[in-house]
Amino acid sequence: MKTPRLHMMMCFGTACVASGAPKVKEALVRELQKHGMQSDVALVETGCNGFCAGGPIITVYPGGTFYHDVTPHDVAELVEEHVVKGRPVERLMFRHPVTQKVIPCVKDIPFFARQCVRVLHNKGRIAAESMEEYIAQDGYAALEHALKMTPEQIIDEVKKSGLRGRGGAGFPTGLKWEFCRKAAGDVKYILCNADEGDPGAFMDRSLLEADPHAVLEGMMIGARAIGAKEGYIYCRAEYPLALERLDAAIKQCRERGLLGKGILGSDFDFDIFVSQGSGAFVCGEETALMRSVEGFRGEPRPRPPFPAQKGLWDKPSVLNNVETFGNIPLIIRNGFEWYRSVGTAKSPGTKIFALTGKVANIGLVEVPIGISLGEIVYDIGGGIPNGKKFKAAQIGGPSGGCIPKEHLNVPVDYETLVELGAIMGSGGLIVMDEDSCMVDMARFFLDFVQEESCGKCTPCRVGTKRMLEILDRICEGKGEMADIDKLQALGEQIKDTALCGLGQTAPNPVLSTLRHFREEYVAHIRDKKCPAGICAALVKAPCQNACPAGVNVPGFVSLTGEKRYAEALQLHRERNPFASVCARVCFHTCEDKCRRDTVDDSLAIRQVKRFLVEQEVTVQVPEIRENEVNAKKHVAIVGAGPAGLSCAYFLARLGYRPRVFEAEPRPGGMLVQAIPAYRLPREELAREVRMIERMGVDIEADSRLGRDFTLKGLREEGYEAIFLAVGAPTGTKLGIPGEELQGVTDGIRFLREYNLRGSVPVGKKVAVIGGGNAAIDAARTAIRLGAKSVTVLYRRTRDEMPAYAEEITEAEHEGVQLRTLIAPTELIGKNGKVTAVKCSPMLLGEFDRSGRRRPKEKNDAPILVEVDQVIAAIGQSLNASEAMDGIQVNLNKNGFFAVNPTTGQTNVEWLFAGGDAVLGPSSVAEAVAAGEKAAVGIDAMLSGEAHAFWREERAVDTKFDPEAEPVEYARAEARLIPVSKRKNNFAEVELPLTEGAATRECRRCLRCDFREET
């Protein structure tokens, strides 16, 4: 027999097998035979490698070249290149998710490199079914050692190690063993809980598949310590591979004398039996598990007596989980001091997590206890895919809770997690992004525990059912605000009264989401809205749900697809008058939620709209319900931005004749003051403003609150309701020395000055400070106005910039330079004029409460950026008291007006507010929504009831075949004018789609709004 020169470690874990590892192996065998090299290569089937999303996985030694997503088609190339010619195949290697750089070697891949692999040290390194390979990695050395120790010494070592049960509650293992050791009786049992049933958890399965002997060895040592002669492994029937490997390993041990009588020449007799679980989550509870092994319904019984006194068949018993046993040989072999070298003082060692959900690298990770959640999610997990935002991590399964982004920085250890309302649990760690609805998530977990409740005790049997019913109601939009308190109260009571651990922790997912995401519950109940777009009853289509203004997106898209442009526009303007404006500047949250991206890419909704508005020859006035009573009522709107104008628009549709006061010479607010003309041509805005005027709205420009009129004055004039939509017009100061220097301005002032007056002083070397849209607008405006160089300074990285990605890209195309991880500390001047920005290099440190990494100073030499103009665009604020005329209006914690979120009403009955003046700088669509809500609120206050007829759902009669496969067109690309033709002027950058492209794009819509007639 020839010695193989290559070892191909093929992951044969459940996930890789499911992904087709056996087919790949077949192909490899065939291909190697073709080359006559079958004896050159050892094909080793290993247990789960942990990188489950990338299966099938092959690691080739020597060298440890890591291949993922290998298909049978890749095999020929792999053999020809790597095996024959020794040239690793780059195409199949891992690429860094951000840099896209190839990382050939398994140990360098961040996913693996950042882990602390101890319990899993054999995963992927040994043949899972080989006892000898286990022995070669010092397997059974710990047993041999333990057999020379007294049971008390073993227990002492485990106690000193500080090992805590990895099954969830974290009870000290050594102490548990000691109790059982000391319990009276000759017959004792040791049991291993391998009934892992948490949704999303697969740590135990992986360990059993990858390294079954480690678990057996741990059990043997435990048996020796407590004095057991028999052990049981309770493993779920859903894990056929783990069961197969366990059976094989036990058979090997029996054959070779490691189980049976007189093990390793000692007086230790021990054997292990496998007991198959049959699908009951509650059997993870120790007393229930023992009942199940005994052949009964797996119902928990009250403790005491504890199993250590009275367990399996009423004999003293110890139950530990798979991972706990996996730790034991390490402790005995290496000693407790070594063991304690990682982890925290209270919780030494490592913990294995099954990292799943919305995270780039899904898989099995072993980390030191006490590592921060952010490190697991971002450094090991590779962050959130598809550019979505991290929302929460669910830890501990159905007994656990959610940790929101505010706590990404906390150490993951037993105590901290409990403080935050989660638990360590057995190790399921599910990452959720902005598309996860926390109410739905809580409902999901409660549904699970409800299904899995054994039904023995009242609080769990009936109480969880009642909680689920309340959650179902909330998710269906039938909840009441009192339901929140009911959930809280019932949840806390169940925790306090249920019989077993399952029941006592069952309310946790609800209580933790109530604690961290109460506002989502409120949105479901009060606003009948599921912000994440998940709860089917509240969501007609995810795009429409995501639109703050509630535009019927599938409706206008499908109408556009049928070339019924007027109807499409009319439908759009039912909820949002600014079709043309939004076609250009909308944040298009609708596209972020578009389900088409599960097929290929989201629909280009904004571009469809851009094409659509292009088809409008004359603007049609929408349906107006004339009303003589309303027409006589006086309503004033302060501020002619999108919020104010929308409020006027919707009031006019109800027959009111509101009057709008605008401080600046032209209506439009930020649309005209801040957004540059190359993004929003002035005529487009003017057309839609004219439409509103034609509906009976008066706009009085150059009329500033506090200067030209006062609120009290308006009241005296007979205005019965006033809507404040004054925006957030003041730029935030940098708060560093030198801000008073000449050449220093703020972004909003800079843009306003140019946009309203047509000129603004621009330097040659301009620095823009900030990363939002205002910063990018200022930068691109400066370039157009002739600045030689424009540099955007931002203290975090490009990924964290709040500005649109496409705007940043276009800015760069136009010559704007981006310098990230740099924070201005001082503006330096000469003769009163700014000459340089002194900056500190930054690096990303811990996670802050927004879930982003907080920049911190790098302690490098400061950087001087030479400038002659500085535009600070780091935020906007409202100086509320300025114009309030002594009227006491409540403000929120950010210094904006506090209002009733459904009506926009302030604490002063006749005073309403909305838009940026309430939310801070926000989007046009949000402003439209705020205006609409205020219009409805004002009408309700004046008339006693709401008449928002436009909110009624209207069926769209476009054709749709639900059976048809989605059309296979790719997403339409935007057409832009070349940089050279736009860099020096304010011509609109983006061109509309052609009719063909636009209507084809419309047909890409999956019509999530479609409901079968029932």
């Binding site: 070892h7 020597p62 440890g64 040994i126 079914e129 080989s130 390979e133 070669a136």
Partner: protein, 134 residues
């Protein structure tokens, strides 16, 4: 091609038995270790294979197995562009310059393995040059 389980498995009844298994298996699986002291690369381009690189490879693997050493790694690589000198192999000892040996046959390969890889002495009469490929 299967894993390293031996069919004639006896009872394990002492530390000695465990150690014996460990020694044997570690030799068999030495390839998977991270560190190594000597790296031998056989250049197996089309020309190399035609010139007999396979035989060289087999010889080296046999030698390696016989030596019981776990810190020597034998790998392959593609053609290095000195086709006239094929078969060619490179021996690189830790902390010293790699040496390219050319126009090999089984005997030469065996000699180089013993002298250079095991003995630490460059077999200068067979060396084509010193330095990395490419």
């Amino acid at each position: 091609m299967a894993s390293s389980e031996t069919p004639k498995a006896g009872k394990i009844s002492s530390l000695k038995d465990l150690q014996a298994i460990k020694e044997r298996v570690l030799t068999d699986t030495a390839l998977r270790a991270d560190g190594y002291k000597v790296c031998i690369t056989v250049h197996m381009g089309t020309c190399g294979i035609a010139a007999g690189a396979r035989e060289i490879m087999n010889t080296l693997m046999d030698e390696l197995a016989a030596s019981g050493r776990r810190d020597i790694r034998i790998t392959t690589s593609g053609c290095i562009g000195v086709c006239v000198h094929e078969p060619v192999m490179t021996v690189e000892r830790l902390n010293s310059e790699p040496v390219i040996y050319a126009k090999l046959d089984a005997n030469k390969a065996r000699l180089i393995f013993r002298e250079d890889a095991l003995g630490g002495k460059t077999v200068s009469q067979l060396a084509l040059g010193v330095g990395k490929e490419s």
